[in-house]
């Protein structure tokens, strides 16, 4: 569905992504984790066209989309949410979702976009807020709106950037169920997440980025037990032991 080949992205002297490659298979949920500043959101930005990579290719449904502008990528069927929510504040919730439907993959007319919006809002549990002005929503609701907007495009792939961050445990439970349901509806998902427990539960596979390098890839269990991953998050577990040994010696 989505193939990323040797993608490198630099910002001035900062190497944000180095030779990152991975495949996203249809119908899967692919988790993307890594410490803060590892380049996770940058990777999303390269995939959906916000940034053009310095090297490498992004191939989506057999088509090379490297360097496409974000609106073209979106129309091709790849939607995303933002880590920091970006609602269209002065529009209603319904209008927000209609933008997704009108300009996404299926390019709906205004009338059919309205129907799609109502359906999607029902799916993410926001139906009763459809006519509210978006700026009046709380964070959890805005996150669900981000999701609804992305889904209204009926995308093949959706990139979810920390949809669980800032939610309380109950809200996380609801959101995780929603994500699983979206996958069951046939949408392929790639998600960045810091809430490990939830991520490990829903992901089919997990990628780990550290300082722009892909350091591990595999099933959630394998990744959780990978020494390199533990080191990236907690520091080298052997280091303390070696230091103690050095002191003693």
């Amino acid at each position: 569905m989505l193939q990323v080949r040797n993608v490198t992205k630099r910002f001035g002297g900062l190497q944000a992504l180095t030779q990152v490659s991975f495949d996203l298979a249809e119908g899967q949920i692919l988790g993307l984790i890594g410490p803060n500043g590892a380049g996770k959101t940058t990777l999303f930005n390269v995939v959906n066209g916000v940034y053009a990579p310095d090297e490498g290719q992004v191939i989506f449904r057999g088509q090379d989309i490297t360097g496409w502008s974000p609106h073209r990528v979106a129309q091709g069927g790849l939607a995303r949410t933002h880590q920091v929510v970006r609602p269209l504040n002065e529009l209603t919730v319904r209008d927000n979702v209609m933008v997704g439907a009108c300009f996404g993959r299926e390019s709906h007319s205004l009338a059919s976009a309205g129907r799609v919006a109502d359906e999607v809002l029902g799916r993410v549990g926001m139906a009763e807020r459809a006519n509210q002005i978006t700026s009046s929503l709380n964070v959890a609701q805005k996150k669900r709106l981000e999701l609804a907007r992305a889904l209204a495009a009926h995308p093949y792939v959706v990139l979810l950037d920390e949809v669980l961050a800032g939610l309380n445990p109950t809200e996380i439970g609801v959101m995780v169920e929603t994500v699983q349901r979206i996958r069951d509806d046939g949408v392929t998902i790639m998600m960045i997440e810091h809430v490990m427990q939830a991520l490990m539960r829903v992901s089919d596979r997990v990628l780990v980025l550290d300082y722009g390098l892909l350091i591990a890839e595999g099933s959630p269990q394998d990744v959780a037990n990978d020494p390199k991953v533990i080191e990236a998050y907690l520091g080298d577990p052997g280091l303390a032991r070696r230091l103690v040994a050095e002191e003693a010696g």
């Binding site: 959906n48 916000v50 502008s69 974000p70 609106h71 979106a74 129309q75 939607a79 995303r80 933002h82 970006r86 609602p87 269209l88 504040n89 002065e90 529009l91 209008d95 209609m98 933008v99 997704g100 009108c102 300009f103 996404g104 993959r105 007319s109 205004l110 009338a111 976009a113 309205g114 907007r149 495009a153």
Partner: protein
């Protein structure tokens, strides 16, 4: 939902059309002059609103389209002896063409940078026309009085100009309402609220912005052709008055940017206020100072304008006040 099924679509332009026709029936010259100014302001403010209110790009140089379009239309009438109707179209198309060319360059800029660029363009356009021979340079052009005989004399020509302006203004309002309630308009409002988010959702922002800019430029060019035809002459100082751009901003802000009704309400209110200030012995040199003060007060206290305030105050009429 198509635009004409919405109640809000029927609120603004039919009222303006009927009001404008009533003036024709009364055959009152003073009323006609007042109507001319009101319709001109309403059309200009409404067209500015497409860019500023719907798309969120504050344009200090809207008067450029008035100036260049008016000059073009007037050139064809006075120098090429064209009838008014094709000249009217030529004026509008010339402005739209300029907007299309300019748009590809300056619509890459956002926020304050775009606003600054539009001021620069106003000055550049004035300097250009000042030095452009075919347009008469600094002295401008004037129309031979005999040209009006084609329309049954000067008095008849004035009425004809008024009726054409009424049609142009009503057309501007219909276009404004249709844009507001269309897929295109939804895309524009997405750009206004968050351009990057709109792009990510698939809105082709560069093209949408250019289309909005072209559409907003079309009407000032037509209005100006009628205005200068009625005046009988055109000169750079009249055509590119930066303060008129700012007065249009006041009208849009006062009435409520991003609404169909707002610019019309703003235009009428501002015109009445201006009329009062210009004729009052105390304030007569201060009307622009008041416009500035007004703008400041609106931005500080009612940033959504009269219509926005009404919408917030009476939620039940939201659907109507669009």
């Amino acid at each position: 939902m198509t635009a004409w099924r919405r109640p809000g679509f029927w609120l603004t332009w039919p009222v303006v059309l009927l009001g404008g026709l009533a003036v024709v029936l009364r055959r009152d010259n003073t009323l006609r002059e007042l109507g001319f100014t009101l319709l001109m302001f309403a059309a200009l403010a409404s067209s500015l609103n497409i860019m500023m209110g719907y798309t969120g790009y504050v344009n200090f140089g809207h008067i450029v389209f008035f100036g260049l379009g008016g000059y073009t239309g007037f050139y064809f009438i006075s120098q090429r002896d064209w009838p008014l109707y094709p000249a009217l179209l030529a004026g509008g198309l010339a402005s739209a063409l300029v907007a299309w060319a300019l748009g590809s360059a300056i619509l890459r800029l956002r926020g304050a940078y775009f606003a600054l660029a539009t001021i620069g363009i106003n000055e550049a356009a004035r300097a250009f026309v000042n030095n452009f021979g075919p347009f008469g340079g600094p002295t401008g052009m004037s129309v031979n009085f005999a040209a009006y005989t084609r329309y049954g004399g000067a008095a008849q020509a004035l009425w004809l100009t008024y009726v054409l302006l009424l049609l142009v203004a009503v057309l501007a309002l219909i276009v404004s309402a249709m844009v507001k309630h269309s897929r295109f308009g939804l895309g524009l409002m997405g750009i206004r609220e968050d351009e990057d988010a709109a792009l990510v959702m698939g809105v082709n922002a560069p093209r949408f912005k250019t289309m909005a800019y072209v559409l907003s430029a079309l009407f000032p060019g037509m209005v100006a052709t009628l205005f200068f035809f009625k005046n009988g002459n055109v000169e750079p100082g009249d055509a590119f008055r930066l303060h008129m751009s700012i007065e249009m901003l006041v009208m849009v802000m006062l009435g409520g940017q991003g609404t169909v009704l707002g610019p019309v309400l703003g235009a009428i209110t501002y015109e009445r206020l201006r009329g009062f200030l210009l004729t009052s012995p105390i304030f007569k040199d201060l009307h622009l100072a008041f416009a500035g003060l007004f703008l400041l007060l609106i931005v500080l206290f009612v940033p959504t304008g009269v219509v926005g305030w009404l919408r917030a105050r009476f939620p039940r009429v939201r659907g109507l006040l669009t």
